[in-house]
Symmetry: C2
Subunit: 131 residues, 2 copies
């Protein structure tokens, strides 16, 4: 059976992306494959085998067009308020925490923050179906 | 510690996307949340807790702009040739199988296929670092 193993995004600057994902979410370099014209970096941590793959095309100078189709990578955390403060203190710009209800029931508590290339990351408080 | 839990893409037609992901990769509906203007569908299977979240915006008529930043979702399979044949027999259009070597060492054996909205899926043969 097919197993989801990674999601790939193209990023402009390797170091700033590695710093962001490490500082904000403790996602570390699991592997790095360097080729003449591009570098692949696989990020993960002990919470999940699924990896975020960063492709760094060495000739790319312009920001990538993000379009309006791809949405986000979501991560869950135990303490959303602490994570929000941490990300703000790191100098990134998380949006406000949102409580998403339906018919009086809390479905999700989350905020969004953009990575250095503008890709949205959804940070969800662990609970309900978001474990 | 932050745990990667899902990746979200926006799709135009719920049924054709569900059919594709189920038929091609045995990704099934883990949950479906229907709201007035949009529906969220979470797809997964027993291989991995990570989910693919589909957002279906009910007023969306035009194809989404996919841009050139987001790359792909990758899945691994035991038998790449069988998976390639299966996907072809289902009427989808997988690209040719590629063997990616570096200095004589096989790094990855894979093919790409687009989902109904044009998002690329990379199908990798299980092995090396792609387990």
């Amino acid at each position: 059976m097919a197993k989801a193993i990674h999601s790939m995004i193209r990023v402009l600057e390797e170091t700033r992306s590695l710093d962001f994902y490490k500082q904000a979410f403790e996602l570390n370099v699991a592997d790095r494959l360097d080729f003449d014209s591009f570098t692949l970096v696989y990020l993960s941590n002990s919470e999940c085998t699924f990896e975020l793959e960063l492709t760094v095309n060495k000739d790319q100078k312009e920001a990538y067009e993000l379009g309006n189709g791809y949405g986000h990578l979501a991560v869950s955390v135990d303490d959303l308020d602490a994570e929000h403060r941490k990300i703000k203190d790191l100098g990134f710009e998380p949006r406000d925490i949102v409580e998403f209800e339906r018919e009086g029931t809390l479905i999700a508590r989350f905020f969004f923050v953009n990575d250095p290339d503008g890709y949205a990351i959804e940070v969800l408080e662990r609970g309900g179906r978001f474990l």
